[in-house]
Amino acid sequence: MNYTALWTTLELAAITSLLLLPIGIPIAYWVAYSGWRWKFLVEAAVALPLVLPPTVLGFYVLVAMGPRSPLGQWYDSVVGHPLPFTFEGLVVASTLYSLPFAVQPMAAAFSMVEPKYLEASWLLGVSRLGTFFRVIVPQSIGGLVTGLVLSFAHTLGEFGVVLMVGGNIEGVTRTVSIDIYDDVQALNYAGANRTALALLVFSFVVLSSVYAINTRIWTRWPQTRPASARAEAR
């Protein structure tokens, strides 16, 4: 098994999923609570990576990061080298690509928190930010963990975007999924099988632990939603 590729992959997945916490949480909060009428457009944009071919996303990310784009030029002038075909470029691309996997479970969990708890908190003198950390987060732990783990697991399995943006540079941008592809191209079926099996088992373990955590959390706090609670006079 190619341990360098495995390490690159784990590093990419860890950084991406951690980066998606400060990026995904505010977006999820906004999606869950905003009353803006055009909100659906933002929701659709966030969900795009779910349906787009990775090559499409990868292509546009590549163009946006390229030396001809203002963004690419700015990055080059600040850091001293262009973004594409580097590990950082890969991080940017996979953050975009995994965004819905973080935002959707988080937003779903946030909107499950009943409004009366937020109002109770405000009426006890606690600010909106304080309410977020003391009421929303503790009641949304399941969704936050799901978002974190799903984006981690999804980044592990990336292929198209990584190939488009990162190329296939050993020790820099060659991830496990590309390694498997290379093995198959080289007719090294045994090597491909070892890596593929490891990825399969790992993904299964990660996902089953997410589902296990969620089951426990939801049974611990049974959510009863009296329909009458806010129906009066509205």
Binding site: E119, L124, R134, A229, E232, A233
Partner: protein, 382 residues
């Protein structure tokens, strides 16, 4: 909030609300009333569901913007639609009791009660929490989670959580809606005594006239966003201003009664100049509101025949007026007792004001509502 901990009281009129709230759907809710602080008064916001009661409470709490008008608390302006000024809920000195208590499910009773005590150190916070929980008799439940509390306990914890911050005003939204019937009577008795000792003005939303009698010093009747009548609960319930109020809140007979004795499941109460028999309420309370529905009162002429009704009171007719297909007959039997009889009966008995008549009703039709040392409210007294 730090300011509340010092116990500074705002000036005489605690809350003056004069505003409108308009919904996109077209319904407009108008509210205009003053809640006094000296002495602190418990006001009942009474009306059927959909009348706008909860909306008024939410506007006062700052949870909903108002469309026009103002809400003042003491000399603070809480909401002013003209200047688009609105103090956020966090900075309004009020305690809001939610219908189903809204205790945070992820926190223990202790942490729930301590939730709004930011800015205090740990020992101070614990002291305040324990003090408040003792006052409400829930100090044994400190380490429990909300799902391990009964409905009545949950309400006490919710009250402790609110009172620990020493609010200048209490808002209670249907405080008994989340409780089953048996618990409701117990909690109502407790809450009515508690609110009276508390010395904080309170606004209570309810659609149940029993709550109004048990808790209220004043009563505001509301329907479809309009205030129909204000007065003491006794006045409103026994002398509805018009048909609309009568239909919403008309309880034909309400009077003060005092328990005189009890025997084999029944109780004897002195009401005005008379005595009547009711089912033993089984509490230690001695003072009650007694209420009797007009449909349950039978009028009889001459000496009362043998009947299973335990109460036969004699008196003179004070007033007769038609009410829909029936006649509403008020009889002075030592207190004002109202009967609803058919027009045919009224004709057959030749009912006219001044005529002596006997009224009969079963002991089980006398409804008793504990009255916790209520001040004022003289109209029911002889």
């Amino acid at each position: 909030m730090a300011a509340n901990q010092t116990g500074v009281r705002p000036s005489r009129s605690a809350l003056s609300a004069d505003f409108e709230k308009q919904y996109a759907g077209g319904m407009t809710i108008r509210a205009s009333f003053v809640l006094a602080v000296d002495p602190p008064v418990t006001s009942i916001l009474f009306g059927p569901s959909g009348a706008g009661k909860t909306t008024i409470l939410r506007c006062i709490a700052g949870l909903e913007p108002i469309t026009s008008g103002t809400i003042h608390f003491g000399d603070e302006v809480w909401s002013d639609a003209g200047t688009r000024r609105s103090v956020p809920p966090q900075r309004r000195s009020l305690g809001y009791l939610f219908q189903d208590h809204a205790l945070f499910p992820h926190l223990t009773v202790r942490d729930n009660v301590a939730f709004g005590l930011g800015g205090l150190d740990r020992t101070e916070r614990n002291r305040h929490v324990e003090e408040a929980c003792e006052k409400l008799g829930v100090e044994a439940l400190l380490e429990r989670r909300p799902d391990q509390l009964s409905g009545g306990q949950g309400q006490r914890v919710a009250l402790a959580r609110v009172l620990v911050r020493r609010p200048g005003l209490l808002l209670l939204d249907e405080p008994f809606a989340a409780l089953d019937a048996a618990t409701r009577d117990e909690v109502r008795g407790y809450l009515s005594g508690f609110l009276r000792r508390l010395e904080i003005p309170a606004l209570v939303v309810t659609h149940d006239w029993v709550d109004a009698l048990a808790l209220g010093d004043e009563m505001i009747v509301l329907d479809r966003g309009r205030i129909l009548q204000t007065g003491t609960p006794h006045q409103v319930l026994t002398r509805p201003a018009d048909r609309e109020v009568a239909a919403l809140a008309g309880v034909e007979t309400v009077a003060e009664g005092r328990l005189e004795g009890r025997s084999s499941g029944t109780a004897v109460l002195r009401v005005g100049l008379s005595e009547l028999v009711a089912l033993d309420p089984g509490t230690d309370v001695r003072d009650f509101w007694i209420s009797i529905r007009g449909e349950d009162v039978t009028l009889e002429e001459g000496t009362a025949p043998k009947s299973s009704a335990r109460n036969h009171l004699t008196g003179r007719i004070v007033e007769i007026e038609p009410q829909a297909a029936l006649m509403r007959v008020a009889v002075d039997v030592g207190f004002r007792l109202t009967a609803l009889v058919t027009r045919q009966s009224a004709e057959d008995l030749n009912l006219v004001p001044g005529k002596p008549i006997a009224a009969a009703f079963k002991a089980s039709k006398v409804h008793l509502i504990p009255r916790a040392g209520q001040a004022g409210d003289t109209p029911g007294r002889p």
